[in-house]
C-alpha cells in the first residue's frame, strides 16, 4: 500500500496522553489537514511523522517500509514550521539551498533550483535579499520553497499561516492548495482553523484529546459528523438532547421529530443528541402547520447584511438559525415562533 501509514502510534508526556493509539492512512498525492483545538495532539502527531519526536508505541510506515527508527535527517520530508524557522544568518537563496548544500549539490545547480522554487512560490528575484527584509507573507513562501527544495516524499506544515492577518491567510490557503495540486506531493497540514481545513484538504483528520475523532472529506465531516465533538467543532451546530422514540423518530423537548437515519445500536428509549446546522433551521410564524416543528421564542436577531442570525429559545435550549437576506424571517425579539428542523438535515448522535 503506497503512502504513509500510522499503526497504533502513541506518545505520552508524563501522565498526559498527547497521541493515543492513532491508526491513519495517508494515500499518495492527497492533501490532509490535522484539525483540532489546541492541545489535541495534532502537532505531536505531525512531529512524529517528521521524525522529530519518537513515539512510545506503534509504527510509522512509508510505502510499507518501517521508518519509525529513521532519524529526521534521513527521511526527506519537507517541513514548514510554525515559527517558519528561517535561518537568520543566511540570505533567502542560501536558506532555500541549505538542504541542497548539505547534499553537496553544485553551486550552479543550486542557484538554478533556487530560482525555480522562487518561481513556484511566486516570489522571483529575491534570492539575494536577507530574510529580515521580507514581509510575513514573503517569508511564508520562502519557508515553503525551502521545504520543497529536495523534492520531499511528504510535505508537512505546522500551522504555517497562523501568524498572517486574515486577508493574507485566505489568499495563502488558496495558493497553497493550488501549489500542492501542481506538484502533487502528499501534504499534511496542522491547523486549528476549520475554515482553513475545509478550503484546502482532500481529507480532514479531526482530533480531540489525543484521539482521532473522525477522518473524511471536508463536506462529509460537515454534513455527517461522527460525534458531538466533531459536530460542535466543525462550524456551528445546534446540539439538542433527544430520546429515541420509535423507528425513524426521536423526541426532543417533548415533540416527536422524524429523522432520516438512526445510528446503529440506538434502540427505542436510548438517549441521544441531535445536531442541526443553523442554515438548515427555518423560523416560521406561530400559526404555520406541518411536521418537525418545535415551539420557540426569539431571543435576539443579528442582521449583519450578508446573513441574518436568529437566536431562539426552544424549551430552554438555544437554537441558532442562519438565513440569507432574501429568506429573512419576519420576526422580532420576543416573538413566539415555530422552529422547523427538516428530517433530512437532522444528524442523530449517540449521547
Amino acid at each position: 500500500m503506497s503512502g504513509l501509514r500510522l499503526e497504533g502510534v502513541e506518545k505520552r508526556f508524563g501522565a498526559i496522553v498527547a497521541v493515543g493509539d492513532a491508526h491513519l492512512h495517508f494515500p499518495e498525492g492527497q492533501f490532509f489537514c490535522l484539525l483540532g483545538p489546541s492541545g489535541c495532539g495534532k502537532t505531536t502527531l505531525l512531529r512524529i511523522v517528521a521524525g522529530l519526536i519518537e513515539p512510545d508505541a506503534g509504527r510509522v510506515l512509508l510505502d510499507d517500509g518501517d521508518i519509525t527508527d529513521v532519524p529526521a535527517h534521513r527521511r526527506n520530508f519537507g517541513m514548514v514550521f510554525q515559527s517558519l524557522a528561517l535561518f537568520p544568518h543566511l540570505t533567502v537563496g542560501e536558506n532555500i539551498a541549505y538542504g541542497l548544500r548539505i547534499r553537496k549539490v553544485e553551486r550552479a545547480a543550486r542557484r538554478k533550483r533556487c530560482e525555480e522554487l522562487l518561481e513556484l512560490v511566486r516570489l522571483p528575484g529575491v534570492a539575494d535579499r536577507h530574510v529580515s527584509q521580507l514581509s510575513g507573507g514573503q517569508r511564508q513562501r520562502v519557508a515553503m520553497a525551502r521545504a520543497l527544495a529536495l523534492e520531499p516524499r511528504l510535505f508537512l506544515l505546522d500551522e504555517p499561516l497562523s501568524a498572517l492577518d486574515a486577508k493574507l491567510r485566505e489568499d495563502m490557503q488558496v495558493e497553497l492548495r493550488q501549489l500542492q495540486q501542481r506538484i502533487g506531493v502528499t501534504t499534511i497540514l496542522v491547523t486549528h482553523d476549520q475554515r482553513e481545513a475545509m478550503t484546502m484538504s482532500d481529507r480532514v483528520v479531526v482530533m480531540n484529546e489525543g484521539r482521532v475523532a473522525q477522518v473524511g472529506p471536508p463536506l462529509e465531516i460537515y454534513r455527517s459528523p461522527a460525534n458531538t465533538f466533531v459536530a460542535d467543532f466543525i462550524g456551528t451546530s445546534n446540539l439538542l438532547p433527544a430520546v429515541v422514540a420509535a423507528a425513524g423518530r426521536v423526541t426532543v423537548a417533548g415533540e416527536a421529530l422524524a429523522v432520516a437515519a438512526l445510528p446503529d445500536g440506538l434502540g427505542p428509549g436510548a438517549e441521544a443528541t441531535i445536531s442541526v446546522r443553523p442554515e438548515s433551521v427555518h423560523v416560521l410564524p406561530d400559526s404555520a402547520a406541518g411536521e418537525n416543528r418545535l415551539p420557540g421564542r426569539v431571543t435576539f436577531v443579528r442582521d449583519v447584511g450578508v446573513s441574518v442570525e436568529t437566536y431562539l429559545d426552544c424549551a430552554g435550549h438555544e437554537v441558532i438559525s442562519i438565513a440569507s437576506p432574501k429568506d429573512r424571517p419576519d420576526v422580532r425579539q420576543g416573538d413566539r415562533v415555530l422552529v422547523e428542523l427538516p428530517a433530512a438535515d437532522i444528524v442523530v448522535l449517540s449521547a
Binding site: 535527517h73 517541513m79 524557522a85 528561517l86 544568518h89 541549505y98
Partner: protein, 285 residues
Amino acid sequence: MRAPRASRAARYAPAVYPTIMLGLFFVVPFAIMLAVSFAHRVPGGFYEPGFELANYARFVSSFFLGTLGFSLFVAGLTAVICILVGFPVTYFITRMPRRRQVVWMVFLLSVLSLSEVIIGFTWSILLSRTAGLSNLLVWLDLMDKPVSWAPGFAALMCGMCYLGFPYTVLVLFPALSRLDPELPEAARTLGASPLRTFFTVIMPIYRNAIVATVIMIFVFSLGVYLLPQVLGRPQHWTLSVLITDQAIFQSNLPFAAAMAVFLMMVSLALVGVTLLLGRAERRAA
C-alpha cells in the same frame, strides 16, 4: 519647538551619575598611571615627577617583548579553549529541563566564588606527584609510577581555562537560551545530521556572541597574575606577573605603569582589529 533650558538639563541628568563614577574610578586612576609611566625613578626611593621615555625604552627589549608575546598567546589560547569547550556545553545546558539547568548554573556560580589563589593551589595539588591525579592512574594500572605535572605550561593552561570557563558559560547562556528550537529542527528535516546542524546553523547564528565572549575571556586572562606563579615555571610568567613584581617587589612604579599602559594598548588594538575584521567579513558575505 525647542525645549526649555531646565528640561534639557533634566534630559542629561541620568548620565551624570555614571559619568562621575567613570571619571572618578577609571579616568583619574588611568591618568595617574599614565603620568607615573613617564615619571623618573629614584633608585632605592620612590619616583619623582618628570617626563622621560626611559621606562618605555627599557620595555622594548627582547625579554619584555617576548613576555608580552607569551602573555598574548596564553590569553588567546585560553579564550579559544574556553569557547571550544564552553559553547557546546552551554548549548547542551540550555536544552536540558529547567531543573537540571538550575543545578548546572548553581555549580558554575559556586566555581566563580573560588578565588584565584584557591584555584591555583588546588590545581597544583591535583597535578603534583605526591598527591595528584597520576596516583589515581597508577592505581588504575594506567601508569607505572606517579609523575609531577605541575608546574608547567599544561598546568598553567588548566588553571587559566578553569578560571575562564564559568564566565564563558554565563555570558553565552542568555543568548543560547533564546534559540528558537525549531531552527535546529528545520535543519534536521533538510537533511543535516545533529553535528552538521550544530556547525552550519547554531554556531553561525551565534557568531557575534562567540566573538564577544572570546574577547572578554582574552582580556580577562591577560590580567591574571597569580596562576602563572603558582602553576607555571619562571619562563611561563606573563606580563601581569612582571608588572606586579616591578610594582610591589622592585618598587619601580614608573616601569610597572609603563608596562601596564603598553599591555592595555596592545590588547585594545587586538580587540579593535578583531572587531574590524568581523565587520569587513560580514560586509563581504
